[in-house]
Symmetry: C2
Subunit: 218 residues, 2 copies
């Protein structure tokens, strides 16, 4: 049975794809929403090739100008360095991103007769991103049942109660090629090692006791 | 205060814009999702000019191929003639269209500090389009409150309990220029007069007792 999996090319979503690929016929969906780290999409494509999965990139770049104000999409807003727990990290919110991506994924699932939609929000995201929380996933799934007037598509969020350290361990178990995943919000040649997602990535490898092959600038 | 209004260029959404424009600072949002009647977007632009409202077109054309199977987007599926009550009209469903458009509208509203999102689903749509029903609107608004973690954006669906005949009367009251609205799903030079939305348009003028200036081919 087919599942539409939202895969950005980051560690979490690539690991999710590896985890689901033994059980589902996966169709990976990635989004160009004008993010500075657009290079992540190359890593999503690598994941699709490795898993022999269909891959589509949805071009939402015309939305970029309208969603301005986020550090992830707006050149006038600098990507903050630090940890996710800091208030400055709110600058990395892209307004309503998960609802937008999930509603498109459900549309594709409905059109293609898929039985699942999957996204890789994880426990560590909850603090600053409301659209990564359990109650969001539940509310979104309920809305989709009404919108489509059936219960044939299941929303999967396999990491929503799991932290990043656990994801690194799961990735290690599934043999995810860590160097073929991209986290850094700055989208430079190498991971910056300073932004929220770089700090989280570094720390997760350390706490998981898994060797981190990532090249960091700092 | 600002409202993001989804306006296709059809009679319903243009009338909604006229109705709201006295009360809200409107930003009209239209969508290119690969519809055959893409010419409707010119009518949305006319509406924006007439009301001196901001207007943005979101390019979702990369979704077209993935949402194939609908008569509205797929060249291999003919737009059915007849009335909405007929089962054949299900061919005109674009999977999850309203959830996709509304989630984007909420993202734009959040980014721009708007206090409302409006869409023009009406009572006559309920029969075949589940995402035009009252329970969908309620469920969607509830989901967005969770997704954004606040209640600052109100979902408006002013025609959701109103039929098309009533909309024609309201349009007449507000002086909507009927010839500057487009309904026909076939997107030809003139309204075909035979498809579901043309039949509904014709009938609504007749029942409302309002002169219909639309040129129909049949």
């Amino acid at each position: 049975m087919k599942t539409i999996a939202i895969v950005s090319g980051g560690l979490d979503s690539v690991t999710m794809a590896y985890k689901l690929s033994g059980h589902w016929d996966l169709h990976l969906l990635s989004f160009d929403y004008g993010q500075k780290h657009i290079k992540e999409l190359k890593y999503a494509a690598m994941c699709a090739r490795a898993l022999d999965a269909q891959h589509s990139i949805i071009d939402l770049s015309s939305l970029g100008e309208l969603l301005k104000g986020s550090a992830l999409t707006d050149d006038s807003v600098i990507v903050p360095d630090g940890h996710y727990a800091e208030p400055s990290m709110k600058a990395t919110i892209v307004p309503n991103r998960n609802a937008i991506m999930l509603s498109i994924a459900y549309g594709v699932a409905e059109a293609q007769g898929a039985h699942g939609v999957a996204f890789a929000a994880h426990g560590g995201d909850h603090f600053i991103y409301p659209d990564c929380r359990i109650d969001f996933a539940a509310s979104f799934a309920a809305m989709q049942e009404v919108a489509l007037d059936h219960l044939n598509i299941t929303l999967m969020a396999p990491f929503i109660t799991v932290d990043k350290t656990e994801i690194v361990k799961i990735a290690d178990d599934f043999g995810v090629p860590f160097v073929d995943t991209w986290s850094c919000y700055k989208g430079g040649e190498y991971h910056c090692g300073l932004c929220g997602t770089c700090n989280e990535r570094k720390e997760a490898f350390l706490l998981a006791g898994v060797a981190d092959p990532t090249v960091y600038t700092s």
